[in-house]
Symmetry: C2
Subunit: 346 residues, 2 copies
DNA sequence: GTTAGCACTCTATTAGGTCGAGTGCTAAAT
DNA sequence: ATTTAGCACTCGACCTAATAGAGTGCTAAC
């Protein structure tokens, strides 16, 4: 399984060249551009070996070689160095966050647009889950005689709202009272526990206020029937049009229609295994999502106070500049964690 | 300027045929498919006239004719009938709104996806402007010792939130007090008036609470420094890939990169002249947005209580099925107005 | 005013031919 | 035993010419 030194160099040269040119690379090119000190013929032999081992393949007989998924995998795991982000890139990233950012949605959207802009790939950012956050504040705001707006705020700064229809019997004072009771009972409780354990306590409390009892219970039920879905943001879909592998319209359509589905985006982000390194590279057929077999994804998570609350990722062709992409995703997530800490951390 | 009866029929036939086949249409086709009772030669003469008048044009000498912008304009204004929406379509639209919709963002997003789904074009939906709404409720929710969440609710049910950094000196009670003052002074006031006239009153009120005066003024300033931009939603961008006129990747890219910019989307929606009919069709070069000269847009507005609060639109090639599209956009906006009224109207 | 007939124009498609990049193999050189 | 030079071979990319077909405009007859 372990390749000798020269084979590594050849493989590396092939991959580097292919990444930058998108053309199958021949023995001659390698001998000329990458100074290995051997002739094309020798390289041809090495390439034949590499092909037999499955690291590269030939589109057709009289063409150069192209890395296979296995080849890329080897490159990512063993060959590529760990690059440091350039000062210029760092400048773009830091400058991309406008000073006045003050709400989570905007932070995530900006992150996303910086990420896709700087990598030239498509990027995804997933926001915090509501389930793992704690309730900070809940309020019923009367809109008119039979409608109220429900506001629910979590301690990670997420806000949800919806319209609630009011029974005739309920007035503004009642709403205020119900809000108070909910706040008193539910503040600091994690959202996924609320339903199970605490409704009863409120129930008891409410029975002291008989006249609005029934209506109030219904309203509380509905107030807490929140949308638990995380938000996913997508940016830079256009970038795939710059990739020569997507000159084919059918492919573009297939990929774009996948990326339109939030479900798929979440799948992509969750399929990465971030347990150990924090950053995960999934290459070609390794992708579990159907239709993504020609793509690679790089995903990572971000944290508040050490707790993982969301993830970001980029999607590109398997012919991706892994070295640069990994380094940027790494920097972006750590920076995002920092921002999150400043805004929402303790 | 007014065409004789037969010319109208010929023009209509050409447009109908071209809309459905996307192929230049010849005299023979028309004579065969559309029973005008005359021979191809006669139709050829009529076509030559129509071309001279600018209603149709020839891609090249030995091809059929294609409608020009002027031709489409005539069709839209004079030739096409007013179609009634089919029961099937109505079913899809009504069913597209899930029962549980309770917040404005979701309503608009669903509207958008129904619209693009049913027309097979790209659709845009623009939400209410904040400026024209009245403030209903404002609240500062403490998150931790030096951060608070600002909530601002308007009477059209829009919610905005952001994080505010607190000076050391301010405690929870102060926040509550400030919220109260703001509510007392600002409820019911239109958002675009708030800055100019009312800060002073709050100023006076606050001077009674000396110890937090400076901090409070700053915070109120920042609280009311809202993002006044309307939200714009985009859906069905993929649909343009189904249009034969967008088989060319460069075109796709041009259009998609336009549609990525919210500014452009708003321009499209605002360029329509909805004053009279409520629905506006803009054809090809009539579009003011650069790069949209091969597209047509159909836009309309929706209302709450007779007041226009937002607009929707669709974008497709000039070879658009105007009859169907107009009818659907019309139905959708009137239905959306109805929904809005139920949720947010008086 | 309408129609049939016909020559003409222009594109799209196909087939054939050439070019060139790159390979694999063999035999000589190191 | 490894490396290299040389060479025949393969196969896609590109160009060219030829052909087919759709549709027109014009003319002359109806």
């Amino acid at each position: 399984m372990t390749l000798d030194e020269r084979k590594k160099k050849v493989l590396q040269a092939i991959i580097r060249d292919y990444i930058s040119t998108a053309e199958p690379v021949g023995s001659r090119t390698i001998a000329k551009k990458y100074e290995l000190g051997v002739s094309p013929a020798t390289i041809r032999n090495e390439m034949a070996d590499l092909e037999e081992l499955g690291y590269i393949e030939q589109p057709h007989t009289s063409a150069g070689r192209v890395p296979s998924d296995k080849g890329y995998r080897y490159y990512v795991d063993c060959l590529m160095g760990k690059k440091k982000i350039s000062e210029q890139e760092e400048g773009i990233i830091l400058g991309g966050y406008k000073a006045k950012v003050k709400d989570m949605g905007t932070v995530l959207r900006q992150t996303n647009s910086i990420l896709s802009g700087i990598t030239n790939y498509t990027s995804i950012v997933m926001g915090p889950q509501y389930t793992t956050s704690n309730l900070r504040y809940v309020q019923l705001v009367p809109l008119d005689s039979n409608k109220a707006l429900v506001l629910v705020v979590t301690d990670s700064g997420l806000v949800q709202n919806k319209i609630l229809e009011l029974p005739q019997s309920v007035n503004e004072v009642d709403l205020q009272k119900i809000s108070q009771i909910m706040n008193a009972k539910l503040q600091g409780v994690s959202l996924d526990q609320i339903k199970l354990t605490l409704i009863k306590e409120i129930y008891d409390e409410l029975s002291k206020h008989k006249h609005i009892f029934d209506a109030a219970m219904d309203m509380i039920q509905e107030t807490l029937d929140l949308n638990h879905e995380e938000k996913v943001y997508l940016a830079g879909t256009l970038n795939i049009l710059n990739q020569p592998e997507f000159r084919d319209l059918t492919r573009v359509r297939t990929l774009l229609s996948l990326l339109e589905q939030d479900k798929v985006l979440k799948e992509i982000l969750n399929d990465g295994s971030h347990a150990e390194t924090g950053i995960s590279v999934t290459i070609g057929a390794e992708n579990r999502v159907d239709g993504l077999q020609d793509c690679s994804t790089i995903t990572a998570t971000y944290q508040i106070d050490g707790r993982t609350i969301g993830s970001v990722g980029i999607i590109g062709p398997t012919r991706m500049d892994y070295e640069k992409a990994v380094c940027i995703v790494e920097f972006m997530t750590s920076h995002l964690s920092k921002i999150m800490k400043d805004f929402y951390g303790h």
